[in-house]
Symmetry: C2
Subunit: 449 residues, 2 copies
């Protein structure tokens, strides 16, 4: 049996490693256009920040590691076409430009995603970057060390992580976003608090510009300035575009492989596409949102790993199902954590729920502990079913663990009353005797009564 | 309507405050033998450690605060008897020694618990302490500041918290316990790791003596030495007995109020005893273990608060149910956290399950983050039902949040496979792309296959 895997960052490499353990005698081949396989994209901002020095720490397994396990790896090989009828793919060696075909018994598409680059003048100038691969990370870090002024386009997860990295490296940064506050994936009430924190934390180094886009990037060879939609100019030494990502699905053209309504590859819970013996997993696939009970596209490394594992099990002949995602995510800006799971209030509205929310500001541990910090929890439930829809938590205290108390509750579709019965661990260095999550649940119950 | 509440540390004070908000016109009277009401017992070790200076920070509400809200509070008043037929209680003023009666429409027993003091010679000598009230805390701290050598009897939660406090205050401590390792509420494999950490952390100041009890405490007025069961003597300036606690249930004698099989007051999920109009809540009551589906007695401040609230709602005429506990708990020894929820393996056996467990040692965050720490998770499920029974987590890394991801899962009686579908938040400063809890779940699933 011969399995070909296209792409090998998180999902592809996980699928390959798992499948080789399940089926040591099968032939497993990876083709990837990338120079590296099996690395942590999520760690790149911390490399740029100087949190650690050696970028290779982000690499979990090298092609050599895989070869030792009997997996064949072809880096810098771009898969151009899939011919499902012939069970064949067309590959281009990016170094020699040579094209050749290979045949599979089963195919796994794990082509991932790539940055959205808006179609504006000057995006190809030197020192205009996106962040996705290890090479991107190295290039941005080199530019950071040689320059003083940077522009970041987009204030989402990667935008805010790069902002911290650039502040730590001593840059002066203008962060430009089309929304009215940074981290606009959160509800606006919380996004406003995040924005306030970011501004006061590094007032001198950081300038946040809301409700604007970049209309052009200008310079000779290298970028020298950008022009905003309101006509203003900003001088800069470098630009990073972190304005979202999109799935790499071009490979499915003319193959009959269906995309979902989100534009990512449609798979069932076994990671099967609609074409027999063709599977897909990771950032290139559409996911099922367990709370919304609708398709969604939330591409994350943790999900990609699980999908890769599930895919390998099914390819091997076992049965495994990946039920979907909750939209759980976390990041931080210096000591300020931002975390969410389930639906925000605005997402809940979009999905047709009648969300009712409370916001609770409370200590993260007993008030007499010297390292006590304030945290803010927003908890949302559906007016009709009383089921929890989601939670958002922000603040300098211990937030992410509060959000994680809720993930299992969302998975089992708990009502707010049921969740209130939760027995969360307590002692003064860790929590308040009624945990902030339970206070939020209690306040929400009161709103329903 | 007149409600009398006996005792007011956590459950009683919570019930009083909640009931006054629900029924502002009702007469609410608290009688307590204690000097204080509404304080955090759990915070006393941190006061002794010098983590904060003012012991009154532990007081949430003073009798004056309560009086302002219209609640009558009588401290240093010991309730000696309840006469359910007459709806009357007999009270002794501990200062004047005067006895008097009072009548109630509804009665709430919240008498709490007190330390187990073994019946050994010399327990009444000066500088032999137990830790329960604020006065106990002040007395121990004064002794700590004036002395050099201490003995702690018992290595449970309070024992280990006092050990940290005493180390921080520069004492030399012998901790004596009848079990074979400290924190023997954990399974022995983890308790051994905890013990190893404790010993190597403060080798010079701390001596741990297992499998021993104290047979006598000796000295003139003040304690000077203790004698162990193996005959050895230990010179010491002070002794703290932290060998467990027992519920204060003597008040129920000759009242017809039933105790449960654990010896604590039996209540239903509405906090009602078997006698009409007599309720009980907090550490003096028996609890229902949601995982074991059996009565248990796990007295904790967080539970007491919830029970107090539930009790007030039912007393007021509303309906509220407290479903029970999961046995969730957490503490730390310096930077080493110990946390659990549900049943340990040995508890599971005792309750008649067929537990299957895995132990996972894994990083608490991405390996390239400079503050990465190793944590150890033990996850236990039932062989027949595949349902999760419990988890224990220890280590210098972020453990308690892992345990908390499981509390809702236990509440909704998830199988290990269902829990594996959990979407736990991930980014490099917070977790590994497959969270340690999910790795544990995966390894446990593999054991079942």
């Amino acid at each position: 049996m011969k399995v070909i895997i296209i792409g090998a960052v998180a999902a592809g490499s996980k699928a390959a490693a798992k499948l080789k353990r399940l089926k040591p005698d099968w032939q497993i081949i990876i083709y990837t256009a990338d120079n590296n396989i099996s690395y942590s994209e999520c760690g790149l901002p911390y490399y740029i920040a100087g949190t650690f020095k050696d970028v290779h720490k982000l690499v979990i397994r090298t092609p050599q590691d895989f070869k030792k396990q009997g997996i064949e790896v072809f880096t810098k090989h771009f898969v151009e076409k899939i011919y499902p009828d012939k069970k064949q793919i067309l590959i281009k060696n990016l170094q020699t430009k040579e094209e050749f075909t290979d045949n599979y018994d089963k195919l796994i598409i794990a082509t991932g995603a790539r940055p959205n680059v808006p179609d504006i003048q000057g995006v190809n100038l030197q020192n205009v970057f996106t962040l996705r691969t290890i090479e991107d990370g190295i290039a941005i870090k080199n530019a950071v060390l040689q320059n003083k002024k940077a522009v970041i386009l987009g204030g989402g997860y990667i935008g805010i992580e790069l902002l911290e990295a650039f502040v730590k490296q001593g840059l002066y940064i203008s962060l430009i976003q089309s929304s009215e506050a940074i981290m606009s994936i959160f509800d606006n009430d919380l996004a406003q608090i995040i924005q306030k924190y970011v501004i006061q934390k590094n007032l001198e180094q950081v300038k946040i510009i809301n409700n604007q886009t970049i209309t052009s990037i200008e310079g000779e060879e290298k970028v020298q300035k950008i022009i905003l939609s309101d006509g203003k100019e900003i001088q800069t030494d470098m630009v990073v575009i972190s304005a979202g990502i999109k799935p790499n699905v071009e490979i499915t053209q003319n193959t009959g492989i269906k995309l979902g309504e989100t534009g990512a590859i449609k798979v069932n819970s076994k990671m099967e596409t609609n074409i027999k013996d063709i599977y897909a997993c990771g950032d290139c696939t559409e996911k099922y949102h367990i709370v919304a009970q609708k398709p969604c596209w939330i591409p994350l490394g943790s999900t990609a790993n699980k999908e890769g594992r599930c895919c390998a099990l099914n390819v091997s002949g076992q049965t495994d199902e990946f039920e979907g995602v909750l939209g759980s995510a976390v990041t931080k800006y210096f000591d300020f954590t931002m975390s969410m799971t389930g639906l925000t209030e605005k997402q809940a509205l979009k999905y047709g729920f009648e969300p009712v929310s409370v916001i609770v500001r409370k200590n993260d541990k007993a008030g007499y502990m010297p390292d006590v910090e304030s945290i803010i929890i927003k908890l949302t439930a559906d007016k009709n079913s009383k089921k929890i829809l989601g939670a958002q938590g922000i603040g300098q205290g211990d937030v992410d663990k509060r959000i994680n108390t809720l993930t299992s509750a969302l998975l089992s579709k708990m009502t707010i009353q049921e969740f209130f019965g939760n027995d969360i661990t307590y002692s003064p260095p860790f929590s308040t005797s009624i945990d902030p999550m339970l206070t939020a649940a209690q306040n929400l119950m009161n709103k329903f009564n």
